[in-house]
Symmetry: C2
Subunit: 245 residues, 2 copies
């Protein structure tokens, strides 16, 4: 089998997330598989580095797929971009050894969260950021970030259903950057639970608004009591930015 | 009468342009006037620095309006942003002398045109730039730009209907910048005819693709024969960026 790795960008706005649900056509994985199956003349399954939730975007999602008959990389890329909708783009396709697996081999991931922190809406970024109209205190948010770094049980910051699997994840870095009206939060870690980044960012926003103290984070982590879903930052501000192998 | 100057950002995607058409509600001017009329309790007319075509965006359109009863600037701004749709934002409202007129006093304007020049579509900018998938030759385009600078009769680069009014406009500067996959063209001048920037950019793209020579621009200007509308760059890449007074 010929194995290919691809890098994908998408505007998740109108999709039910990455993961294919049955035969429905409203997921990113489903859209790409349908086009690849046409190209290869056989059923193709793609393996993503991980799922993104409904509405979440990707700047560089990584996936791999295997097909019986080897094809030229640029031919595959052109075919995909010709038949995929305009909100999904394949920016690179490369041939990789057969053992390469986009999920098992992913070492760490970086998510980017964009907050638009001005009084007025940003007309161009309203679907690509979360609007917070009260000024956020970055210094407090940065203090709070430090409590997330390291290995923790992130039960409190997830909506993961399984109670059997480990909820321990390691966060390597969290950076906050102010950039022309935006506050950009980058979180790098070895893995993320369902809704984890959005609950972390939602909590950081509460810290930035002065609603809770930065110092309350360790207690929330230890409690393992789930942060309310109402406090989750919106999906439209979240981007899977990078996957390292 | 109390006179106010406002700075407006909009995503022109779903509008028929700036200028109100009768009583219809599908123009930027119409949308803002409706909200201001509610606020003031009297019919308010706004004067824009100039029209933008259907689908064209603005980063800083300037307009002024007069109301009988003086109001607090931030109160006006908050009211507007509360009732305007999310694709129109008022980013500043300031009280100005009664003689200030957004159209008559506008000295020059800067338009920005964004071209996405990669093989694949940019999922996030597909409504905010024009996609050109063949590599453009920036050097050739820069050479072509020089021929637009100065005072010229721009009949060839417009769809203006009136044959009585002067078609002479002065272009002060045109800059081309490459920026992470985008080619950004900035045109500053004392005024622009209907569709003029889009026809100029469309022609620059032809130069960049090697379809016509940079040196053919002076001849096109002198001919006063209209560049075909099919060669116009799309509205979605165009932004009114700045108005100077």
């Amino acid at each position: 089998m010929n194995n290919y790795k691809m890098t994908i960008q998408y505007d998740g706005g109108r999709y039910k997330g990455w993961q294919r649900l049955g035969t429905s056509d409203d997921t990113i994985q489903g859209k790409i598989e349908n086009v690849l199956t046409e190209l290869a003349g056989e059923t193709v399954e793609i393996i993503g580095s991980g799922r993104t939730d409904a509405g979440v975007h990707a700047l560089a999602q990584i996936a791999n797929f295997k097909i019986s008959e080897g094809k030229n990389e640029s031919e595959i890329m052109e075919y995909l971009n010709r038949y995929l909708p305009q909100d999904i783009s394949v920016v690179e396709v490369i041939s990789v050894p057969e053992r390469f697996h986009a999920r098992y081999n992913a070492k760490d991931k970086t998510y980017l969260y964009k907050i638009w922190n001005e009084q007025y809406t940003n007309p161009f970024m309203r679907k690509y950021s979360m609007h917070v109209d009260q000024k956020l205190d970055i210094t407090k948010m940065e203090t709070a970030c430090q409590y997330f770094i390291g290995k923790h049980d992130f039960t409190a910051f997830s909506n993961a259903k399984s109670k059997k699997k480990s909820m321990v994840r390691e966060i390597y870095t969290i950076d906050i950057e102010e950039n022309a009206g935006f506050i950009e939060i980058r979180v790098q870690g070895n893995g993320f639970l369902y809704n984890m980044v959005r609950k972390m960012v939602g909590t950081l926003i509460e810290v930035g608004l002065g609603e809770i103290e930065a110092e309350s984070i360790p207690g929330i982590l230890e409690s393992k009591e789930r942060v309310q879903t109402g406090r989750m930052a919106y999906a439209e501000g979240l981007y899977l930015e990078k996957v390292d192998f």
